[in-house]
Amino acid sequence: MTPSIPATSTNTNLFDAPSGALLTPAPEDPAPQNVAPNRGDPDINSTDTSTVGLLPDWSVGEWLAYGSLMLVAVLLTAIAVTTLWWMLHAWRSRDSLQRTGFAKIPRPAAYSFSLLVPGRHEEEVMGQTLDKLAEQDHPDFEIIAIVGHDDPGTEAVARAAAARHPELIKVVVDDSVPKNKPKALNLALKTARGSVVGVFDAEDDVHPRLLSLVDSRFTETSADVVQGGVQLMNFDTTWWSLRNVLEYYFWFRSRLHFHANAKFIPLGGNTVFIKRTWLDWSNGWDAECLAEDCEVGVRLSSQGATVAVAYSPEVVTREETPGTLKSLFKQRTRWNQGFLQVLGKGEWRKLPSARQRLFARYILAMPFLQAATGLLIPVSIVLILTAKVPVGVALITFLPLGPTIVTLAAEAAGLHEFGKLYGRKVRMRDYVRLVLGTFPYQVFLAAAAVRAVWRQIRGENSWEKTEHTGAHRTDFAPLPGKEPQLVGAGHGSGFAKEPQFSGSAGSGAAS
């Protein structure tokens, strides 16, 4: 190598060679000092110009730890994204939104209807519900109120209503023990004469034109089942009722339509209309199932029955949230347990295509996937803050946060729309509640899911009733005040009246 600037070097002088010859090459000289001052010692070979491998250089332990962390994050993200996408299904295009509603002008009536209204300790709301149902503008329908033999209060209210509308309302007394909703429905089915059977809950606030629209929907779509919209109204009562209301909104407004398209649909508990022939085929509802509505939906789906869903805000069936967080918790536990039962029963295996079966498995297991999702997010945050993980891994663990935040934005948009549609004032306070409630509600849902699994393992499958106060009926005079009666678990009395979600319909679904 050529020496660099030997600025101060004192080499042997070429011309001092002893031979006196003019030019004699000098002997090798020691390398000149201070070749370049203080430049450190860059290692020429330090530049590794070979391509860096695509996979990071981790030990086996690191691969396991980081790999599982990333896998969980990616799975959670996938769940959150699918949930988000289903939640927004109705709004994905203008046409799809138009398809979700009832016809503007209904077709002439073609079916006769039997409306089943089971009631249990519901004397405060049942009379009014029956009166409103009797106002339906459909030409051919009957109402069958089912009351328990041990519930004279409700029976009295039902009989009074029947007296007011003798040609429309019948009262059936259920003396089975223990009582539950599917048993009551099956009993009423024996006397029902309509070609279509509809189910309502005792506190439902039903629009007078609903039957005509449903009738038209049957004709337009030649469906075997029509699921109408149900909407909780009291979003401004508590932080969790806000979330509960939004769940309903996204479920009936949007997601259920996706399920109908996918041909696997967990039916709701009310405002559901099934052709009599199909109910005969299914032998009514499964009296042993905590989620009998979901169960019958799965059975009908597996035999190829078609379900049409329609949600028009003006004719939606209005309800209220459960009165306390505790009863909401019980209700959610029961649904989740019902889903577990349906999953275990395996009717979904008879679904015609593998795609549907996979979908069914996913939907029925959703509450539990969500429970995991909700619980794992704090875990990953703690991990990132405490453990030193590579930047890429840390970034991937944040991935599920993305769909969660988008979900929150969609929920805010939904809340705003809800307020506009139903003429309710949505305040800043409600948006703050929405945001702050995201995580607690997720924890709440996760807890309900865990409890459902626990109960199912223990073989506890008694009904836990949800009580109502009529809070959704703001347009009506206040009902005679009576504290909602809690019917505890294991009583074997009281039954469910809500549509069943696979997990949260939309709100909180993605976190």
Binding site: A7, N11, P25, W91, T100, A223, D224, I405
Partner: protein, 676 residues
């Protein structure tokens, strides 16, 4: 009104579902979505698009690719982006120096991805050209997207093609599209985002796509955030009111999320906020927003902004003029208005007082100006044929006259510019300088260089720490630590136009320039690349020593000329007497003269060097015998020359038609000669 269900013909209803388990199977009757049917329908609707689009893309690709390595000369910025891309795949780091959040990294990550997938770095001797190849791909994609955008804006196929061709063929466009600027990549993403924002079919998904694409555009080049109002306008305008609440909420959240990804990245690395001895996102943004030197006033003819504008103007005055006029006209044409407003807004933004105007700023303007030109042309043609009012007809007449004038002026201008771009090799000087360095500078030496040659020199075998991007010697603490004596720790500085432009900004570089002298120089004018030898002892001391050495060399040279066994031809005698011949050559000739009578034909100048000091010697005859290639005399002389060692070693000996050529290294050892 349709319904949410799967359709089933009424006659296939269950006949008697009461009798279990008889449940009828259902048959789909709707035609399959895919298959020949869909293809025919697509062809019927879009069949003529490829007839216009494909030739346009072919022209774009050919014109951009032809001589893309020769023109324009590669510049420092290109080298930086390519070096950063190279660092990703070869060093596993985000940049070849500490990444300091000067730009979001997505732009060169994409270049790195392209290079990795296609092996572009292996395909080119000059690494920057791998980046230019990625730009070629980006330009072709952008051209196609601009065509689509023009169609979505309501232009006919011909006018869409006009917009695309203006975008692809304006000399201004070609110059900038060839250059490795992140803006070129961002343009493609922005155009894609706009197309999706105009969608009507699957609006939710496509708005989300638009938001993500726009986010990528901004993370590719942050200045593209200026197009956000345009995107918001286009999106809001095309959003259906019934679903707008959701589509816009989700899309804007997605955009925020993509942007937050960058912030999160900084946070996870612990580099979000400024701190001691570390880079931070905050500092990077603060630098871009406030610390950048203003480009000066538009009224100052020597200001940077005026130089930038002059450069744009010189490339294509016709496109710029037509573009501005069309944009102003476009403000009054509804479907062009968003794009016209964007262009006008960007131009006004450019002239804000105290602004820093990046040279590639024009890249974002080109597609939308082209769109406005095509849109206005379309309007003119439409109103020429069926102008429904006198005013509009007059406008159309004026417009067509203007267009004709523009075309008449453009033809010769474009021809000249395009000829240069397709034929001139402006990068030759940089390539030659690199070649000179790799064949003459030892790998242990330290060089201060323009980033344009950074990767190439590192690939040639120089240690990363010994190839210093000049910008870093004054700004990067790691680099400063590695050179505690600053410029004095380097041996060479290679200067290009960009380094010569602002020497005062970088004190170390200014010092290095002041204390170095050119040892090899290539090209001239803007293209000139000089390799300068740095003298740590200072130029004054060096010059004194050089003068003294010349004197000594001269005296030895005069002595040699008198040697009877040596024959000197041509100007060799005067060179020897002037002291311009390397001491090692003098020593070698003197030594060899004791064995043979030699004829020295010349002391050829090494290409690129000035010739004040000659380090090559051509022997044409030995003992009166011509030194033909392969002759025993030539072989013998070569062997002897190669046997010289120590300070006298030759770096190469070659046998040529004219004789034996010996070359010595650039740096001759001092004090080989006796002092007087």
């Amino acid at each position: 009104m349709s319904t949410t269900t799967h359709r089933t013909p009424a006659h296939q209803m269950p006949q008697s579902p009461g009798r279990r388990p008889i449940v009828p199977t259902r048959v789909r009757k709707s035609p399959p979505k895919n298959g020949p049917h869909a293809w025919y329908r697509w062809r019927r609707v879009h069949g003529r698009a490829p007839l216009w689009l494909l030739p346009t893309l072919l022209i774009t690709a050919v014109v951009q690719a032809w001589n893309m390595a020769g023109s324009p000369q590669r510049i420092d910025d290109e080298g930086t982006y390519v070096a950063q891309a190279w660092a990703i795949t070869n060093l596993g780091e985000l940049a070849h120096y500490t990444y300091w959040y000067d730009h979001p990294p997505l732009g060169w990550i994409q270049i790195a991805g392209y290079a990795q997938l296609t092996g572009a770095f292996d395909r080119w001797d000059t690494s920057v050209m791998a980046g230019r190849e990625a730009m070629l791909v980006a330009a072709v994609i952008s051209t196609a997207l601009l065509w689509l955008l023009a169609r979505k804006t309501g232009l006919g196929r011909g006018m869409a093609t006009l917009a695309a061709l203006l975008f692809a063929l304006s000399p201004l466009a070609i110059q900038f599209h060839r250059t490795v600027y992140l803006d070129n990549i961002a343009t493609a993403w922005l155009l894609g985002a706009l197309i999706l924002a105009m969608s009507r079919k699957h609006q939710l998904a496509e708005f989300v796509g638009a938001a993500v694409m726009f986010g990528i555009a901004v993370l590719t080049k942050e200045t593209y955030l200026l197009a956000l109002p345009l995107l918001a306008w286009v999106m809001f305008h095309s959003a259906y009111p019934a679903t707008r609440r959701y589509t816009l909420a989700v899309a804007s959240t997605m955009l925020v999320l993509v942007g937050s990804g960058y912030i999160l990245f900084a946070a996870v690395k612990g580099e979000l906020l400024p701190g001691d001895n570390r880079v931070s996102l905050f500092d990077g943004i603060a630098f871009q927003l406030s610390s950048r030197v203003s480009s000066g006033s538009i009224t100052d003819p020597d200001s940077l902004i005026n130089r930038t504008l002059a450069m744009w103007w010189q490339l294509d005055p016709v496109f710029i003029t037509t573009g501005i006029v069309s944009t102003l006209a476009g403000l009054f044409i509804k479907r062009l208005r968003p794009y016209a407003v964007l262009v006008v807004g960007l131009v006004l933004f450019m002239f804000r007082p105290g602004s820093y105007l990046p040279v590639p700023y024009v890249i974002m303007l080109i597609p939308f100006a082209a769109l406005c030109i095509a849109g206005v042309t379309s309007w003119i043609l439409a109103h020429l044929r069926r102008g429904n009012s006198a005013g509009k007809r007059v406008s159309a007449m004026t417009g067509i006259a203007g267009l004709i004038i523009a075309v008449v002026i453009a033809v010769p201008l474009w021809t000249t510019q395009l000829r240069g771009m397709l034929l001139a090799n402006l990068d030759a000087s940089t390539v030659q300088a690199q070649d000179w360095i790799t064949s003459n500078v030892p790998l242990t030496d330290r060089l201060i260089v323009d980033d344009a040659m950074w990767v190439d020199l590192v690939k040639a075998g120089f240690a990363r720490d010994n190839v210093i991007w000049y910008y870093k010697l004054d700004t990067d603490s790691d680099v400063m630590d590695a050179s505690p004596n600053g410029w004095q720790d380097s041996d060479y500085i290679v200067t290009t136009d960009s380094m010569r432009t602002f020497p005062d900004q970088f004190p170390q570089i200014a010092q290095a320039l002041n204390n170095s002298e050119i040892v090899a120089s290539f090209g001239e004018g803007f293209q000139q690349v000089d390799v300068r030898r740095i003298f740590p002892e200072g130029l004054a001391a060096r010059e004194e020593a050089t003068a003294e050495r010349a004197e000594r060399l001269s005296s030895v040279g005069i002595e040699l000329v008198t040697n009877p066994s040596l024959t000197f031809e041509g100007e060799t005698v005067s060179l020897l007497e002037a002291g311009q011949i390397d001491a090692r050559i003098l020593a070698a000739i003197g030594q060899r003269a004791s064995l043979n009578a030699l004829t020295i034909a010349s002391f050829p100048v090494v290409h690129g060097e000035s010739g004040t000091m000659r380090r090559q010697v051509l022997f044409s005859a030995s003992d009166g015998v011509a030194l033909a290639p392969g002759s025993p005399a030539a072989d013998d002389l070569q062997r002897w020359l190669e046997s010289l060692n120590g300070f006298f070693a030759v770096s190469s000996v070659t046998q040529t038609q004219d004789g034996v050529l010996a070359t010595f290294s650039t740096v001759q050892p001092t004090n080989l000669l006796p002092s007087r």
